[in-house]
């Protein structure tokens, strides 16, 4: 964010829609101002007091009331002429996925209770039309009657909201457990996981620690190499040395490929030329405020460029797409080495390459998965967003495309990513993180009656002010609630990887599997199984259900991914690979020889860096 904007807040008081105050006794007081168009300013801190005086002054011009739902949120009272037209807009709901029942509801004359009404229709739509039904909307009459009569899971009839009208408000999830976050994995702890040969013992336990607290920055560059598939989890030091040597050779071979294309050749190679142009532009505008990339002629810009160009050779089908430089930048800063950064980047891309495909299907699927999750997790917010043209969750696009890279500060994004890369506590945890952030913004969105543009603006503007640890705690809590919800629909279980693989219908598992974040070296999973040694896996939150092996391919070409350390990330969804009931049964991977807890820091042997 631009520094000037940060310290220079100026707006017309009449544009003020609401503001958020800091929690009392929480350090310096601050106020976050939110305007009618959704513009949300960075927190204005009052180091020497004065926030109350300012608000008092403001009250001379506007009427302020406190939100009944969020004690920190204050709303500027106005008689909001747009309100009526907004509620009329709510009537034109569901144009894209309308079903017969919904249409009837919408056309019903009882349109006076618009607010509650949209909730009812949404709720019923959720219940009557599971996502698979969208194409085939008609249910047998008897079935509908049955659903309506007795068993709508979690339906609660509340008579509080509006006298005279019954409101069906929410599905009831189990209470949210409190979740603790811990300290990051320390260097000493890390070393204690290695035996004399440099095998890592108790990999699952190690991942649990990383999930719960991240990694100390001093060992990040080593730990990430495992998380991102540069090294196999079950390798010994000697094998890692070989792996590394091979990867260095392979990198420079690919780098040479584009380096040796002459300008003359390139004139007849439009595709490469275009990619070079894009990379050129984006390298110049990637995290230039970070000291690692700051300043003109910073040599690290060249490294960024070279890695992205080489990635084009590594995965020519995908090439370069905007956003990739955002993925690479934190990795390069941690690795400080071209080759290591390249391979770790390739590993990170393996998890998100579907975000960047030409048809954008990967993005569409994930945005709709957030929608499905929210229908269960927070039907009220979900109904609101749908009623305000935001049911497509486009406002989460940037979050998902580059895995929150622009939403958090640099050191935070490194923490968040290493947590996500543990694949805990479930598949697609990043989608639940989205739910957690949205939950925190819920009262702001609802009580300000934000519409499509304001929602988008507000969500864009909270970038860099989202509290990371709190969000992670909340997200894990939401996951636990969903996992323990007895009537959790299978479609949701599938998104979260909570279904045993045998229950997965092949067609749907495809869609789902693309976000599994399958490990870079899926081939290694077979060796895990051969090793066959038993591991005691801490049951952090085993979700029940049998385990399934990773790297289960669904189509003939599915095996492609397992070659060459998961080399080419396919651009075809159908080719994606890897269904596992991650976290399902626990006994998924066997690692090393088990038991031994040799303190040798074998894994650190090969830390010599190759600077180029």
């Amino acid at each position: 964010m631009d520094a000037r904007r940060k310290y220079n807040i100026s707006f017309d008081v009449l544009d003020l829609k609401s503001f958020k105050r800091s929690a009392p006794n929480h350090g310096w007081a601050y106020i976050i101002f939110i305007l009618k168009d959704g513009t949300t300013y960075p927190a204005l801190h009052f180091h020497n007091g004065g926030s109350k005086a300012l608000l008092k002054e403001l009250e001379n011009f506007i009427h302020i009331r406190r939100s009944p739902n969020d004690p920190r949120l204050f709303l500027v009272k106005d008689h909001d002429p747009e309100q009526l037209s907004q509620s009329i807009n709510e009537l034109s709901l569901f144009t894209d996925s309308s079903g017969a029942y919904v249409q009837k509801f919408i056309k019903s004359p009882y349109t006076t209770t618009l607010g509650g009404f949209s909730k009812v229709t949404n709720f019923l739509r959720d219940v009557l039309m599971t996502p698979e039904d969208h194409h085939n909307l008609v249910r047998p009459q008897a079935e509908v009657a049955e659903i309506l009569q007795d068993d709508i899971p979690g339906m609660e009839i509340s008579q509080l909201d509006e006298p005279g009208f019954e409101m069906i408000t929410k599905t009831k999830l189990p209470p949210r457990p409190t979740v603790k976050r811990e300290d990051p994995l320390s260097s000493q702890q890390w070393n204690s996981f290695f035996d004399n040969e440099g095998h890592i013992n108790r990999v699952e336990e190690l991942k649990d620690i990383i999930f719960r607290g991240g990694v100390d920055p001093s060992i990040r560059s080593e730990v990430w190499k495992f998380l991102l598939g540069f090294y196999d989890w079950d390798s010994c030091s000697r094998k890692r040395q070989e792996q590394r040597k091979r990867k260095v050779d392979e990198y420079f071979r690919m780098k040479l490929q584009w380096k040796t294309i002459s300008a003359e050749q390139e004139r007849r190679f439009t595709l490469l030329k275009e990619r070079r142009g894009l990379i050129d532009k984006d390298v110049m505008r990637t995290d230039r405020t970070h000291k690692f990339f700051a300043g003109d002629k910073n040599p690290n810009l060249q490294v960024l460029y070279d890695i992205l160009m080489t990635y084009c050779m590594y995965n020519f089908d995908l090439g370069y797409v905007q956003g990739m430089s955002d993925i690479l930048s934190p990795i390069l800063v941690v690795m400080e080495n071209e080759v290591d950064a390249f391979w770790c980047f390739a590993g990170a891309m393996e998890r998100v390459c579907h975000n960047f495909e030409m048809d954008q299907n990967g993005m569409k699927v994930q945005l709709s998965q957030i929608h499905k999750l929210m229908q269960v997790q927070d039907p009220e917010l979900c109904a609101y967003l749908e009623a305000h043209d935001s049911g497509n969750f486009y406002f989460c696009f940037r979050w998902i495309l580059i895995v929150f890279k622009r939403e958090f500060h640099f050191h935070e994004i490194q923490r968040l990513w290493e947590v996500i890369w543990t694949d805990r506590p479930c598949t697609n945890f990043h989608l639940i993180i989205s739910l957690a952030i949205l939950e925190s913004e819920k009262s702001t969105l609802l009580e300000n009656r934000f519409g499509f543009t304001e929602i988008l603006k507000h969500i864009n503007d909270i970038s860099l002010s989202i509290p990371l640890e709190e969000t992670l705690r909340k997200a894990e809590g939401i996951f636990l609630q969903l996992r323990d919800f007895k009537k959790l629909p299978n479609s949701i279980k599938e998104i979260l990887g909570l279904l045993p693989s045998s229950d997965l219908p092949a067609s749907q598992s495809m869609e789902n599997s693309m976000f599994m974040g399958s490990s870079l070296t899926s081939s290694s999973s077979s060796s895990h199984q051969e090793a066959g040694s038993k591991v005691d896996t801490p049951t952090l939150m085993a979700g029940g259900g049998a385990s399934a092996s990773r790297g289960l391919s669904h189509s003939g070409s599915g095996g492609d991914l397992t070659k060459a350390g998961g080399a080419a990330c396919s651009t075809n969804v159908a080719r994606s690979v890897g269904v596992s009931a991650r976290y399902g049964g626990g006994a998924r991977q066997a690692n090393g020889s088990g038991g031994g807890n040799g303190g040798a820091a074998g894994g650190m042997d090969d830390t010599h860096k190759v600077f180029t």
Partner: protein
Amino acid sequence: MASRKKVLLKVIILGDSGVGKTSLMNQYVAKKFSNQYKATIGADFLTKEVMVDDRLVTMQIWDTAGQERFQSLGVAFYRGADGCVLVFDVTMPNTFRSLDSWRDEFLIQASPRDPENFPFVVIGNKIDLENRAVSARRAQGWCHSKGDIPYFETSAKEAINVEQAFQAVAKNAMAQETDVELCSEFPDPIKLSGDNNKPRDSNCPC
């Protein structure tokens, strides 16, 4: 009650990646330039109040990602656009050649009621750079062939002509807006007296 309702004009900026869409928007709205803007991901907008023909107008200016594959999602933001600014970089001929497809795509997706007369403006940006590769004549030729789209040469960096270009699109969009208002089939839902300058306790018409 005179029709004095607040006018909101939605303007979309389109063009290839790196032609300066974000910079133009920020120069116009906030009068500032930075060469540290990041590549736009998704979409964002800024609003600015301007006077157009003695009417106070709120311009909502939308900035979208330039890379082609993001268009399929970008179209969600085209809906309801009142004007469109097509941008190319005068030092990059390929960004000029893309204008055709940007314009076509916009017209297909936004499907305005009168595509022939939809208020476009074309901006040739980065005239502060020396290695110019698209001549003004060539650009004007294209604009002429597309129904005399107004053409502006700008530098977002040095704030040359930016104001004029956006003012033009606002003016043309307002002209259309007024036409539409006259033949509008829908009655204005709510009429407001303009000057809402003072807080009122309870003035709710219901």
